[in-house]
């Protein structure tokens, strides 16, 4: 199978963000304006250079208001990615596709979120007025609402319990991943968990959110903030201010009966088979070897799905993630340094897109927890993913 045309043709030319906090004190629109102008400055580009915008379907920042705020003279390409956080890396897929096809020259991908202080706290227990109110695959949640299964943690817990049952995984096994994430976050001044590492005992003593799989410390940090990425052609990026990061591969993988966050009706919930399919696309179709991945950013909304994705992506066998982690393989000196910013659990939850910024920093050599000579980085969110490279 030949590689899609955009493989290697598009590059990340700039990244930008606001501070991450628990109360931003300003609108998502303003947060997005700030992160986007920061990303453009990073790239050495002006708003007038931008002709494309991509975000999530659930993002509250509307293109019309963004355009009149930042002062984009003409936008010729706009798109949004469904599937909530699972669609995170679809932002790269859409942006790279637009650039490679010639539909746009410079595409800004963004996410503005007040997951903590906003009108509806992201992880809060709430019911929906209609099944499609999230415009993002949330129709499936109608089957959960009358039963009190109201939060992302509760949706994922039903999958995670089955995973633990099939492979004899314990909460302590999962907690070891969290200890590693918090160790990374502890040295990252940008992280919620800066200077606050945890022990496995503290993980075990944190209160249950969803027994037997999710303690409080297994949950990502609901965060206020915004991040933005600027994508343009590799050719143009080579002449810009920042060291270009190439989008070598990007794909989504949406299987029959897959949902967002749940997949409750897939036959075997002990395997994240959407990520298995994603790996087949990223590694096989784009002819990238797993062994070439220097570091990985893997969507860790809740820690059990980090273990499940490590297995589904093929970095270890089914049920082996607990041993892979216990052996220290997620650390800087391990086989697969993972979520080196602390991940969504340690750094904060900008709905996954902040993982793209960390992947970019690793390839620029500017990460706080730098993997020496990182040249190939995987960044995934269960059903979407990309491989980024220095060349």
């Amino acid at each position: 199978m030949s590689s899609p045309a955009f493989g290697g043709q598009a590059a990340i030319a700039g990244i930008g963000q606001t501070e991450f906090s628990r109360r931003a004190g300003r609108s998502e629109l303003q947060l997005a304006c700030e992160s986007i102008t920061a990303a453009l400055a990073d790239a050495g580009l002006e708003p007038a250079d931008v002709d494309g915008l991509v975000s999530y379907t659930v993002d509250p920042v509307e293109e019309t208001e963004l355009v009149r705020s930042v002062g984009f003279p003409e936008i010729v390409y706009s798109s949004r990615v469904p599937y909530g956080g699972g669609g995170s890396m679809g932002v790269l897929l859409h942006a790279a596709s637009a650039v490679a096809s010639g539909a746009a020259d410079v595409v800004v991908g963004y996410r503005g979120i007040r997951a903590r202080s906003g009108a509806s706290r992201f992880g809060g227990a709430k019911t929906s007025p209609s099944p499609t109110s999230g415009h993002s695959g949330t129709t499936a949640m109608q089957w959960c609402t009358p039963f009190g299964v109201l939060t992302p943690a509760s949706w994922m817990a039903l999958n995670s319990t089955r995973y633990m049952y099939e492979f004899g995984v314990t909460s302590e096994d999962i907690g070891r991943a969290v200890v590693q994430l918090r160790a990374y976050a502890a040295t990252n001044p940008n992280a919620w968990g800066y200077e606050r590492p945890i022990t496995l005992e503290e993980h075990q003593e944190s209160r249950w959110i969803a027994e037997p799989c999710i303690h409080l410390l297994d949950c990502c940090q609901e965060t206020d903030g915004s991040v933005a990425v600027v994508v343009t052609s590799a050719e143009r990026a080579a002449d810009l201010a920042a060291k270009p990061v190439h989008i070598a591969a990007a794909s989504g993988a949406g299987l029959f009966e897959a949902e967002i966050a749940t997949d409750h009706y897939r036959p075997d919930l002990s395997v994240m088979d959407g990520s298995v399919a994603l790996a087949a696309r990223l590694f096989d179709r784009f002819e990238i070897a797993r062994d070439d991945i220097d570091t990985a950013m893997i969507y860790d909304a809740f820690s059990p799905i980090l273990l499940m994705q490590l297995e589904a992506l093929g970095f270890c066998g089914p049920g082996e993630a607990k041993d892979f982690i216990a052996d220290g393989n997620l650390a800087l000196d391990g086989a697969l340094p993972c979520n080196t910013n602390g991940g969504l659990i340690g750094e904060g939850y900008i709905h996954g897109l902040n993982l793209v910024l960390e992947a970019t920093r690793q390839l620029r050599g500017t990460a706080v927890n730098q993997v020496p000579d990182a040249r190939v980085v995987l960044v995934t969110a269960s059903r979407t993913g990309a491989v980024l490279t220095t060349d």
Partner: protein, 155 residues
């Protein structure tokens, strides 16, 4: 509001309090919730190829037929997975909420609650039988109670 029903308590407690959120009934899903209102658990069955499907949908994903029948289900199944939900809490529920995925004998999986069981007694593979509890707006939804020892009968 009054105190919420206790997960695991007898059905009558739910009937009395009627706190549980009502299902969101749409053109596409009414077949399931309408039957539940009458104390029945059903699935769609394709009138052309016979495939059972849940959640309901307008078209058969196997043969693309729009012709559909209603299949009555036994209401018997086993616990495929579960989660004991502690936080965050919604005022319509007593915590912990005993959330579960039930694999019904007919090969249909549903999200539901377990009743009549203590949290530490829940096991994957546990045989269960459907019963119905009331929600706000006079709807009923299916929940599952463990089949008592000696009560389990092979179909």
């Amino acid at each position: 509001m009054t105190s919420a029903p206790v997960a695991g308590n007898h059905t009558d407690h739910y009937v009395e309090l009627m706190d549980r959120p009502a299902p969101i009934v749409t053109e596409d899903n009414a077949v399931f919730w309408d039957a539940a209102d009458e104390g029945r658990i059903v699935a769609q069955r394709c009138a052309k190829c016979g495939r059972l499907r849940h959640p309901p949908r307008p078209m058969c994903p196997e043969c693309r037929s729009l012709e559909v029948e209603v299949a009555e289900l036994s209401g018997r199944g086993v616990v495929y997975s579960y989660a004991i939900l502690h936080h965050p809490q919604h005022p319509s529920f007593e915590y912990p909420v005993l959330a579960t995925l039930i694999d019904l004998d007919e090969g249909i999986r549903v999200v539901s609650n377990l009743v009549g069981i203590e949290p530490d007694e829940i096991r994957i593979g546990l045989p269960v039988q459907v019963e119905f509890v009331s929600t706000e707006d006079d709807h009923r939804v299916p929940v599952f109670r463990p089949v008592a020892v000696g009560e389990s009968v092979a179909p």
